[in-house]
Amino acid sequence: MTPELFDGPEPAPSAGWHAPVTVLASYAAGDLGNTYVWSIEAHLSDCALCRGQLSVHTDNERLARNRSVVLAMAAIPGARWPRRLARRLGLPDHVLVLLSATSSLRRSWLLSVVAVLGVVTGESLLVHALWPHHAGIAAYSEPAVLAPLLLVGPLLVLVGVAAAFVPSLDPGYRLAVAAPFSSLTLLLVRAVSALTAALIPLACAAVVVPGPRWLPAALLLPSLALCAFALAAATVVGPTAAVVTSGAMWALPVAWLTVTQSPLESVEAHGQSLCAVVAVAAVAVVFARRDRLEMRWAS
């Protein structure tokens, strides 16, 4: 609407000009374009008479409704810095809200992961520091000190991802299942975020421990393979059984290699090849059986 502004005879001014009643009515109804809105608002801030006239045209019900919406917008969380940062990085607001309901992305969870990795790393460093003095063996050549990190690290990542999709760890999963938003998308968004969030402290721990320089990179593929396998297995068995099976598939070989040979073999060439095959096969199964994954998640 592009009305003629400030040229009407009403309301009868005592001095100067005033906004016509029709314009005030359009303003109150929200029908004015932005330019006119700014002009009117500049005028209203100085003119008590027009403000008085405006009140006649306001729809109290609409005002109350708008007030409720404004209050609701203010009550909806979203101003904290991690969310602002993520928004600046281009993540859509609604995805951030969905991630806020992921247990393994909560501060308490991440602190627990850091604490466990801290203990494991500290233990490795301590053994590394003490071992050469007593045994005269270089810690670097004794990869057994890495066994706790190699065992626990990928399992921590797996548990974080499990918390993103195992129903018993998601109190609101029934609502999520009954909603039209794709359960698979929700599950994958959460799983990838939880995977990323857990891999960062794991990579940091791998840098600190007395191991080969390639160790941080070498932990990525096994972690990914475990999580992908758990998701794929969840299309066949229940999510909890899938996660336990996946965890056992990692823990048992690492424990066996630690006892018989070297735990590092689990992340060396043969181990990486095996993990790559498992990861690719698991992703294919997840894609092929995505409908089953969704329904299994529900049941």
């Binding site: 917008m73 969380p77 609604h94 299942v177 039209p180 969704e294 529900a298």
Partner: protein, 297 residues
Amino acid sequence: MGELIVNGSTSARDEAAVRVGGLSRRYGEIRALDAVDLTLDRGITGLLGPNGAGKTTLLSILATVNEPDAGDIKIFGLNPKIHAERVQIRRQLGFLPQELGYHRHFTVAGFLDYVAILKEIVDRRRRAEEVARVLATVGMEGFGRRRIRTLSGGFRQRLAIAQSLLGSPELLVLDEPTAGLDTEQRLRFRELLSNLPGDPVIVLSTHQADDIAAICPRVVVVLDGRIAFAGTPTALADTAAGHVWTATQRDERAHMSWRDGDNQWRHIGDLPPTGSVTATPTVEDGYLLLSHAGGKR
């Protein structure tokens, strides 16, 4: 078992919003639903039944949260077994599970905002409008910033109802929505359901026969995974006609008896107690008589 049509006319059957045929579901050795046939129309249908009768299983299947082992379902003509149609159903669905789960850190508005996104309301302004609308509907306007864990049971239940109303669904599946509500809140809930715009299909389960009598034009009694009755609350009450008496003394032959507010013994059974007066049966009487008969089977 023959098909029980809640709203019995043939035309209503053809246009039924929800049709269920031969629905069965087992959990291991437990038979939760056994060849259930049911047709539901627009309006409110109440599900009555004891704990473990299969109400929650039936509702979770209607809400597409659970899969049946056998049987067919059509909701607004859509088949939930087909992925695309299941999503279409969910776009028209409001679901209140028996136990509403929520993350401990959620505020009231934050939780509703989350559920609104799950219901594909992505635009921030629209979400806020919906959150404001449903909060006003359940009388919780000033509660947006409150953490859910600080709310009383009654307010949590109101919040649970509020989330089911997001997006103005055409099908509302409410599992024990009045659990935890006090008398006034239950009355408000009845008023709320009765005044919902658009005449949606509402299926609610409850243990409160008076809720059924007050707001449900149709009632379905579920016993042992089967539908024992489907019809109007009046018809359910009528099933107990000639089986309800009041007397000053308790009669051991009665299936059930209890002392009422007038200090009289109310008896439900097959034989009238000595010196008794025939009483007008209620929905609860009809339900209790059916439950007793079901228990004997």
